[in-house]
Protein backbone atom coordinates (compact mmCIF):
# COMPACT_ATOMS: atom_id res chain seq x y z
CA UNK A 1 0.00 0.00 0.00
CA UNK A 2 1.26 3.42 -0.93
CA UNK A 3 0.35 6.44 1.19
CA UNK A 4 1.20 10.02 0.34
CA UNK A 5 0.90 12.88 2.81
CA UNK A 6 0.44 10.09 5.27
CA UNK A 7 -1.28 10.87 8.53
CA UNK A 8 -0.84 14.61 8.07
CA UNK A 9 -3.91 15.30 10.15
CA UNK A 10 -3.87 12.30 12.45
CA UNK A 11 -2.47 12.11 15.97
CA UNK A 12 0.22 9.61 16.88
CA UNK A 13 -2.16 7.20 18.51
CA UNK A 14 -4.41 6.96 15.49
CA UNK A 15 -1.43 6.73 13.15
CA UNK A 16 0.01 3.79 15.07
CA UNK A 17 -3.38 2.10 15.26
CA UNK A 18 -3.92 2.39 11.52
CA UNK A 19 -0.40 1.23 10.72
CA UNK A 20 -0.90 -1.80 12.96
CA UNK A 21 -4.04 -2.73 11.11
CA UNK A 22 -2.36 -2.40 7.74
CA UNK A 23 0.62 -4.45 8.92
CA UNK A 24 -1.71 -7.17 10.14
CA UNK A 25 -3.44 -7.25 6.79
CA UNK A 26 -0.05 -8.11 5.34
CA UNK A 27 0.51 -4.92 3.41
CA UNK A 28 3.93 -3.61 2.63
CA UNK A 29 3.61 0.02 3.62
CA UNK A 30 5.23 2.60 1.37
CA UNK A 31 4.75 5.94 3.07
CA UNK A 32 5.69 9.52 2.30
CA UNK A 33 5.50 11.94 5.16
CA UNK A 34 6.97 15.16 6.45
CA UNK A 35 9.23 14.75 9.44
CA UNK A 36 6.74 15.12 12.21
CA UNK A 37 5.31 11.60 11.91
CA UNK A 38 8.62 9.80 11.61
CA UNK A 39 8.82 8.60 15.21
CA UNK A 40 5.37 7.06 15.03
CA UNK A 41 5.93 5.40 11.68
CA UNK A 42 9.43 4.03 12.06
CA UNK A 43 8.45 0.85 13.95
CA UNK A 44 6.38 -0.23 10.96
CA UNK A 45 9.01 0.01 8.26
CA UNK A 46 12.39 -1.47 7.49
CA UNK A 47 14.13 1.40 5.76
CA UNK A 48 13.81 5.02 4.77
CA UNK A 49 15.28 7.75 2.69
CA UNK A 50 15.46 11.47 3.05
CA UNK A 51 14.27 13.45 0.04
CA UNK A 52 16.05 16.71 -0.54
CA UNK A 53 15.90 19.45 -3.16
CA UNK A 54 18.36 22.16 -4.01
CA UNK A 55 17.67 25.37 -5.90
CA UNK A 56 14.03 24.21 -6.09
CA UNK A 57 14.89 22.03 -9.07
CA UNK A 58 17.41 19.29 -8.26
CA UNK A 59 15.96 16.52 -6.13
CA UNK A 60 18.06 13.83 -4.56
CA UNK A 61 17.67 11.11 -2.00
CA UNK A 62 19.77 10.08 0.92
CA UNK A 63 19.32 6.63 2.40
CA UNK A 64 18.82 6.55 6.16
CA UNK A 65 20.19 3.60 8.05
CA UNK A 66 17.64 1.53 9.91
CA UNK A 67 18.27 -0.12 13.23
CA UNK A 68 16.18 -3.31 13.04
CA UNK A 69 16.85 -4.23 16.68
CA UNK A 70 15.33 -1.03 17.99
CA UNK A 71 13.04 -0.43 15.03
CA UNK A 72 14.33 3.11 14.76
CA UNK A 73 15.97 5.14 12.08
CA UNK A 74 19.57 5.95 12.80
CA UNK A 75 19.18 9.69 12.74
CA UNK A 76 21.56 11.99 14.53
CA UNK A 77 20.30 12.35 18.11
CA UNK A 78 19.56 16.05 17.96
CA UNK A 79 17.44 15.80 14.87
CA UNK A 80 15.33 12.86 15.87
CA UNK A 81 11.71 13.68 15.32
CA UNK A 82 12.43 17.28 14.63
CA UNK A 83 13.34 19.32 11.66
CA UNK A 84 16.77 18.13 10.65
CA UNK A 85 19.57 20.32 9.58
CA UNK A 86 20.46 20.07 5.92
CA UNK A 87 21.06 16.42 5.33
CA UNK A 88 23.31 16.77 2.34
Amino acid sequence: MVLDKAFDKADNEFTALAMNIFANFGFQMIVATPLKSVMTLEPFIGGACFVHISERRYSSILMIEYDSDHQRLKLPEHTHGETPVAAS
Binding site: M1, V2, L3, D4, K5, A6, F7, D8, K9, A10, N12, E13, F14, T15, A16, L17, A18, M19, N20, A23, N24, F25, G26, F27, Q28, M29, I30, V31, A32, T33, P34, L35, V38, M39, T40, L41, E42, P43, F44, I45, G46, G47, A48, C49, F50, V51, H52, I53, R56, R57, Y58, S59, S60, I61, M63, I64, Y66, Q71, L73, T83
Partner: protein, 249 residues
Protein backbone atom coordinates in the same frame (compact mmCIF):
# COMPACT_ATOMS: atom_id res chain seq x y z
CA UNK B 1 3.51 9.26 23.67
CA UNK B 2 4.92 5.85 23.08
CA UNK B 3 3.46 4.47 19.89
CA UNK B 4 2.04 1.00 19.81
CA UNK B 5 4.56 -1.44 18.51
CA UNK B 6 3.63 -3.52 15.52
CA UNK B 7 2.66 -7.07 16.26
CA UNK B 8 5.84 -9.02 15.93
CA UNK B 9 6.79 -9.78 12.39
CA UNK B 10 3.29 -9.97 10.93
CA UNK B 11 4.00 -12.96 8.72
CA UNK B 12 3.47 -12.53 5.07
CA UNK B 13 3.15 -15.23 2.48
CA UNK B 14 6.40 -16.58 1.15
CA UNK B 15 5.11 -16.04 -2.35
CA UNK B 16 3.86 -12.50 -1.74
CA UNK B 17 5.77 -10.08 -3.91
CA UNK B 18 7.01 -6.92 -2.27
CA UNK B 19 8.73 -3.86 -3.65
CA UNK B 20 12.50 -4.07 -3.38
CA UNK B 21 13.85 -1.20 -5.41
CA UNK B 22 12.73 1.89 -7.30
CA UNK B 23 14.85 3.49 -9.98
CA UNK B 24 13.98 6.74 -11.70
CA UNK B 25 15.84 8.33 -14.58
CA UNK B 26 15.09 11.93 -15.57
CA UNK B 27 11.77 11.85 -13.75
CA UNK B 28 10.51 15.26 -12.65
CA UNK B 29 13.11 17.03 -10.56
CA UNK B 30 15.12 13.81 -10.31
CA UNK B 31 17.68 14.37 -13.04
CA UNK B 32 19.77 11.46 -14.16
CA UNK B 33 19.54 8.17 -12.28
CA UNK B 34 18.33 7.75 -8.72
CA UNK B 35 18.33 4.34 -7.11
CA UNK B 36 16.22 3.62 -4.04
CA UNK B 37 16.49 0.23 -2.36
CA UNK B 38 13.21 -0.38 -0.55
CA UNK B 39 12.92 -2.53 2.53
CA UNK B 40 10.42 -5.32 2.10
CA UNK B 41 9.11 -4.72 5.58
CA UNK B 42 8.04 -1.21 4.58
CA UNK B 43 9.61 2.00 3.44
CA UNK B 44 9.42 5.64 4.38
CA UNK B 45 10.09 8.71 2.26
CA UNK B 46 10.73 11.64 4.57
CA UNK B 47 11.46 15.25 3.86
CA UNK B 48 9.89 18.69 3.76
CA UNK B 49 7.17 19.41 1.22
CA UNK B 50 8.26 20.34 -2.26
CA UNK B 51 11.32 18.11 -2.26
CA UNK B 52 10.04 15.31 -4.50
CA UNK B 53 8.35 12.69 -2.30
CA UNK B 54 5.13 12.79 -4.30
CA UNK B 55 7.13 12.69 -7.52
CA UNK B 56 8.57 9.34 -6.43
CA UNK B 57 5.19 7.93 -5.42
CA UNK B 58 3.78 9.11 -8.75
CA UNK B 59 6.50 7.06 -10.41
CA UNK B 60 4.99 4.01 -8.71
CA UNK B 61 1.54 5.11 -9.91
CA UNK B 62 2.73 5.47 -13.47
CA UNK B 63 4.17 1.97 -13.33
CA UNK B 64 1.04 0.33 -11.95
CA UNK B 65 -2.06 2.35 -12.72
CA UNK B 66 -3.67 2.42 -16.19
CA UNK B 67 -2.92 5.74 -17.92
CA UNK B 68 -6.56 6.76 -18.05
CA UNK B 69 -6.93 6.19 -14.33
CA UNK B 70 -3.70 7.64 -13.13
CA UNK B 71 -4.11 10.50 -10.76
CA UNK B 72 -0.83 12.17 -10.02
CA UNK B 73 -0.49 13.83 -6.66
CA UNK B 74 -3.90 12.48 -5.67
CA UNK B 75 -3.44 13.25 -2.01
CA UNK B 76 -2.91 16.97 -2.54
CA UNK B 77 -5.75 17.23 -4.98
CA UNK B 78 -8.19 15.68 -2.56
CA UNK B 79 -7.29 18.31 -0.05
CA UNK B 80 -6.98 21.44 -2.09
CA UNK B 81 -7.67 20.88 -5.76
CA UNK B 82 -4.09 21.83 -6.31
CA UNK B 83 -1.70 19.46 -8.02
CA UNK B 84 -3.50 19.22 -11.32
CA UNK B 85 -0.38 20.61 -12.89
CA UNK B 86 1.30 17.24 -12.62
CA UNK B 87 1.19 14.99 -15.63
CA UNK B 88 3.48 12.86 -17.74
CA UNK B 89 4.75 15.87 -19.66
CA UNK B 90 5.72 17.72 -16.51
CA UNK B 91 7.57 14.65 -15.28
CA UNK B 92 9.39 13.95 -18.55
CA UNK B 93 10.26 17.61 -19.00
CA UNK B 94 11.25 18.06 -15.38
CA UNK B 95 8.93 20.90 -14.51
CA UNK B 96 9.78 23.02 -11.53
CA UNK B 97 8.37 26.29 -10.30
CA UNK B 98 10.38 29.42 -10.08
CA UNK B 99 9.14 32.06 -7.69
CA UNK B 100 9.22 34.98 -10.05
CA UNK B 101 7.97 37.77 -7.93
CA UNK B 102 7.80 37.49 -4.18
CA UNK B 103 5.08 40.11 -3.79
CA UNK B 104 2.60 38.76 -6.30
CA UNK B 105 3.59 35.17 -5.57
CA UNK B 106 3.65 34.67 -9.30
CA UNK B 107 5.10 31.35 -10.31
CA UNK B 108 6.78 30.61 -13.61
CA UNK B 109 7.03 27.03 -14.75
CA UNK B 110 10.48 26.05 -15.85
CA UNK B 111 11.72 22.85 -17.45
CA UNK B 112 14.92 20.97 -16.75
CA UNK B 113 14.70 19.08 -20.05
CA UNK B 114 13.75 20.90 -23.22
CA UNK B 115 14.05 19.46 -26.68
CA UNK B 116 13.93 15.71 -27.21
CA UNK B 117 13.93 14.07 -23.80
CA UNK B 118 13.35 10.66 -22.33
CA UNK B 119 12.61 9.28 -18.89
CA UNK B 120 12.60 5.80 -17.42
CA UNK B 121 11.20 4.09 -14.36
CA UNK B 122 11.91 0.66 -12.94
CA UNK B 123 10.21 -1.02 -10.01
CA UNK B 124 11.65 -4.27 -8.72
CA UNK B 125 9.46 -6.77 -6.91
CA UNK B 126 10.73 -9.85 -5.18
CA UNK B 127 9.34 -12.64 -3.06
CA UNK B 128 11.04 -14.73 -0.46
CA UNK B 129 11.37 -17.63 -2.85
CA UNK B 130 13.86 -15.57 -4.79
CA UNK B 131 11.62 -14.71 -7.72
CA UNK B 132 12.13 -11.27 -9.21
CA UNK B 133 9.85 -9.21 -11.42
CA UNK B 134 10.91 -5.80 -12.69
CA UNK B 135 8.40 -3.39 -14.23
CA UNK B 136 9.99 -0.86 -16.56
CA UNK B 137 8.54 2.04 -18.46
CA UNK B 138 10.13 4.43 -20.90
CA UNK B 139 8.67 7.81 -21.83
CA UNK B 140 9.87 10.23 -24.43
CA UNK B 141 9.02 13.49 -26.11
CA UNK B 142 10.47 14.53 -29.44
CA UNK B 143 11.52 18.04 -30.28
CA UNK B 144 9.60 20.66 -28.40
CA UNK B 145 6.34 18.71 -28.25
CA UNK B 146 4.54 19.31 -25.02
CA UNK B 147 1.16 17.64 -25.14
CA UNK B 148 0.17 14.67 -23.04
CA UNK B 149 -0.67 12.74 -26.20
CA UNK B 150 2.81 13.49 -27.54
CA UNK B 151 4.38 11.37 -24.82
CA UNK B 152 5.50 8.07 -26.30
CA UNK B 153 5.61 5.16 -23.96
CA UNK B 154 7.10 1.71 -23.87
CA UNK B 155 6.46 -1.05 -21.37
CA UNK B 156 8.88 -3.78 -20.35
CA UNK B 157 8.80 -6.58 -17.83
CA UNK B 158 11.84 -8.53 -16.75
CA UNK B 159 11.83 -11.70 -14.71
CA UNK B 160 15.38 -11.16 -13.59
CA UNK B 161 17.15 -8.38 -11.69
CA UNK B 162 17.28 -5.38 -13.98
CA UNK B 163 19.11 -2.10 -13.61
CA UNK B 164 18.11 1.01 -15.57
CA UNK B 165 21.79 1.51 -16.31
CA UNK B 166 21.38 -1.33 -18.79
CA UNK B 167 19.38 0.98 -21.06
CA UNK B 168 21.35 4.15 -20.56
CA UNK B 169 22.07 4.30 -24.29
CA UNK B 170 18.40 4.28 -25.28
CA UNK B 171 18.03 6.43 -28.40
CA UNK B 172 14.22 6.21 -28.80
CA UNK B 173 14.67 3.23 -31.13
CA UNK B 174 12.29 0.65 -29.74
CA UNK B 175 13.21 -2.01 -32.24
CA UNK B 176 16.82 -1.84 -31.23
CA UNK B 177 15.80 -1.96 -27.60
CA UNK B 178 13.76 -5.11 -28.15
CA UNK B 179 16.69 -6.70 -29.91
CA UNK B 180 18.98 -5.95 -26.99
CA UNK B 181 16.57 -7.55 -24.53
CA UNK B 182 14.94 -10.52 -26.24
CA UNK B 183 14.17 -12.01 -22.83
CA UNK B 184 12.01 -9.07 -21.83
CA UNK B 185 8.27 -8.83 -22.28
CA UNK B 186 7.96 -5.64 -24.34
CA UNK B 187 4.75 -3.88 -25.36
CA UNK B 188 3.46 -0.59 -26.71
CA UNK B 189 0.29 -0.67 -24.64
CA UNK B 190 -0.51 -0.69 -20.97
CA UNK B 191 -3.18 -3.38 -21.11
CA UNK B 192 -1.05 -6.41 -22.05
CA UNK B 193 1.70 -5.14 -19.76
CA UNK B 194 -0.78 -4.96 -16.92
CA UNK B 195 -2.20 -8.41 -17.58
CA UNK B 196 1.32 -9.74 -17.53
CA UNK B 197 2.43 -8.13 -14.29
CA UNK B 198 -0.86 -8.96 -12.59
CA UNK B 199 -0.33 -12.59 -13.44
CA UNK B 200 3.33 -12.60 -12.42
CA UNK B 201 2.69 -10.81 -9.14
CA UNK B 202 -0.43 -12.77 -8.28
CA UNK B 203 -2.81 -9.86 -8.62
CA UNK B 204 -6.27 -10.69 -9.78
CA UNK B 205 -7.00 -8.66 -12.87
CA UNK B 206 -10.56 -7.50 -13.26
CA UNK B 207 -10.99 -5.24 -16.26
CA UNK B 208 -14.38 -3.92 -15.16
CA UNK B 209 -13.34 -2.59 -11.81
CA UNK B 210 -9.76 -3.53 -11.73
CA UNK B 211 -8.40 -0.76 -9.54
CA UNK B 212 -9.56 0.58 -6.26
CA UNK B 213 -10.70 4.15 -6.27
CA UNK B 214 -8.35 6.64 -4.71
CA UNK B 215 -9.09 6.65 -1.05
CA UNK B 216 -11.23 9.32 0.53
CA UNK B 217 -9.84 9.03 3.98
CA UNK B 218 -8.59 12.38 5.14
CA UNK B 219 -5.41 11.03 6.70
CA UNK B 220 -3.78 10.27 3.44
CA UNK B 221 -4.86 8.75 0.20
CA UNK B 222 -3.57 5.33 -0.76
CA UNK B 223 -3.06 5.65 -4.46
CA UNK B 224 -3.32 1.98 -4.90
CA UNK B 225 -3.47 -1.05 -2.74
CA UNK B 226 -3.28 -4.71 -3.42
CA UNK B 227 -3.09 -7.84 -1.47
CA UNK B 228 -3.63 -11.41 -2.48
CA UNK B 229 -6.59 -11.78 -4.73
CA UNK B 230 -9.32 -9.43 -3.68
CA UNK B 231 -9.57 -5.88 -4.97
CA UNK B 232 -10.71 -3.62 -2.21
CA UNK B 233 -11.45 -0.10 -1.31
CA UNK B 234 -12.18 1.81 1.82
CA UNK B 235 -15.54 3.31 2.36
CA UNK B 236 -15.66 6.99 3.08
CA UNK B 237 -15.55 7.35 6.85
CA UNK B 238 -18.94 8.61 7.95
CA UNK B 239 -17.98 9.50 11.49
CA UNK B 240 -14.60 8.68 12.87
CA UNK B 241 -12.22 6.80 10.61
CA UNK B 242 -11.09 4.66 13.54
CA UNK B 243 -14.42 2.91 13.64
CA UNK B 244 -14.33 2.16 9.97
CA UNK B 245 -13.48 -1.25 8.69
CA UNK B 246 -12.56 -2.11 5.15
CA UNK B 247 -15.34 -3.20 2.89
CA UNK B 248 -14.50 -6.15 0.73
CA UNK B 249 -16.34 -5.77 -2.50
Amino acid sequence: MKPATPSSGSPFDADQFRMRRLQVFNWGTFSDLHDIPMAERGFLFVGPSGTGKTTLLDAISALLVPPRWVDFNAAAREASRAGRDRNLVSYVRGAWAEQKDDESGEIAMQYLRTGTAWSALALTYGNSQGRVVVLVQLFWLRGSSNGNTDVKRHYLIFERPFDLREIKDFDLDVRKLKKSFPEAFAREDFQPYRERFCRLLGIESEPQRAWPRPCDINWGAPIMARRSTRPWCWTRPSTKPTTNSPRWP
